[in-house]
C-alpha cells in the first residue's frame, strides 16, 4: 500500500478509536472505564508510532531507544507504586 493511503486508513481508525473512547465513557463500568480508556489510548499511540512515525521500518536500534524510554518509565512507576501500595 502506498504510504499516503496507509496514513489515511490509520487516521480513520484513530477516529473510530476516539469515538469509541468517548462513547465508552458514557457507560458506567466502574474501574473498567479507566482500563478500557487506557487500552484504547495505547492502541492509538501504537498506531501513531508504527505508521505515522514509521517505527516498523526504522531498525532495531531506533526501536530499542524508544522502548528504553518506556521501560525506564515502567521502572519509575512500578517501584514507586510498590512503596505506596504496600504501606501498612
Amino acid at each position: 500500500m502506498n504510504p499516503t493511503k496507509q496514513n489515511a486508513w490509520t487516521l480513520l481508525v484513530l477516529f473510530v478509536l476516539l469515538a469509541g473512547t468517548v462513547g465508552v465513557a458514557y457507560v458506567d463500568l466502574g474501574r473498567w472505564n479507566t482500563v478500557i480508556a487506557m487500552l484504547i489510548s495505547v492502541m492509538k499511540a501504537a498506531l501513531i508510532v508504527l505508521v505515522f512515525m514509521k517505527l516498523r521500518h526504522s531498525g532495531r536500534l531506533v526501536a530499542l531507544a524508544f522502548f528504553a524510554g518506556l521501560f525506564w518509565l515502567a521502572i519509575l512507576i512500578s517501584l514507586t507504586l510498590g512503596d505506596f501500595f504496600s504501606r501498612s
Binding site: 499516503t4 487516521l11 472505564n33 489510548s41 505508521v51 512515525m53 531507544a65 525506564w72 518509565l73
Partner: protein
C-alpha cells in the same frame, strides 16, 4: 532516499550515516520526553489513587467537547505531517508546504481552544492557589486534580507551540529550497517530534476528560 546532493557535514563519512544519526538522535530525545512527562503521570496515579472520588468529580468540570475536538485536531495534524514527510522524499514542494502549514494552523486551533478552556477554568475559580473553590466538599482532591491538569496540559501546550514553530521553519525551508528532497531528514525528524506531542495528548485526554461523564 539516496540523493547524492544531500550536503554532508564534515564529521560524517556518508549520507546514510548522517541520516541515521539524526533519526536515532531524535528517537533518543523522545525517550527523554517520555520520562519528562512520566514523572507527571506517576504523580497523577498516586494522587488519583488517594482521592478517586474527588478526581471523578473534578473531571466533570472539564469540557468534554473541547477536549474531543482538540484530540481530533491533533490527530488530523499528525496525518498531515505524516504525509508531508513522505512527499518530501518525492520532492513535492507545494503539497508539502501546504500540508505543513495546515498542521501549524491546526496547532494554533488547538492552542486557541486550550486557551479558551483555561480562561473558563480560571473564571470558575478552578485555578489552584488562586482562591480555588470547589463545591461538594472534595476541594482538596479536586485541587490536586487541577494542579495536575494545568501542569500536564500546560507542559503539553508548550510542546505544541514548540512543535508548531519547528514545523513552520520546515515549511519555510522547503519552500525556499531548490531541491526539497534534500530536506527529507529534517522534515522527517521534525515530524517525529510532532507525532510524539500527539501521543502525549492521546493519554492526557482520557485521564482528564473522561473520568466521569456518565449519563
Amino acid at each position: 532516499m539516496s540523493e547524492p546532493t544531500v550536503p554532508l557535514a564534515h564529521q560524517f563519512e556518508e549520507p546514510a550515516q548522517q541520516q541515521e544519526a539524526a533519526t536515532l538522535g531524535m528517537w533518543i530525545f523522545l525517550a527523554t520526553e517520555v520520562l519528562l512527562f512520566g514523572g507527571l503521570f506517576l504523580a497523577y496515579i498516586v494522587y488519583r489513587d488517594q482521592a478517586p472520588q474527588a478526581f471523578a468529580a473534578a473531571s466533570g468540570k472539564t469540557m468534554l467537547v473541547a477536549g474531543t475536538i482538540n484530540t481530533a485536531v491533533l490527530l488530523v495534524s499528525s496525518y498531515f505531517v505524516a504525509n508531508a514527510v513522505h512527499l518530501t522524499t518525492l520532492g513535492r514542494r507545494k503539497v508539502v508546504v501546504v500540508l505543513l502549514l495546515a498542521a501549524v494552523l491546526l496547532a494554533a486551533v488547538f492552542l486557541v481552544i486550550k486557551g479558551f478552556e483555561y480562561h473558563h477554568k480560571i473564571e470558575e475559580g478552578l485555578f489552584p492557589g488562586m482562591n480555588f473553590h470547589f463545591p461538594g466538599g472534595q476541594a482538596r482532591g479536586a485541587q490536586m486534580f487541577f494542579v495536575l491538569y494545568f501542569t500536564m496540559t500546560g507542559l503539553h501546550a508548550l510542546h505544541v507551540a514548540v512543535g508548531a514553530a519547528i514545523l513552520a521553519v520546515c515549511a519555510g525551508k522547503v519552500l525556499l529550497s531548490p531541491d526539497p528532497a534534500r530536506l527529507a531528514t529534517m522534515v522527517d525528524v521534525s515530524g517525529l517530534y510532532w507525532h510524539f506531542v500527539d501521543i502525549v495528548w492521546v493519554f492526557l485526554f482520557p485521564l482528564f476528560y473522561l473520568i466521569s461523564h456518565r449519563s
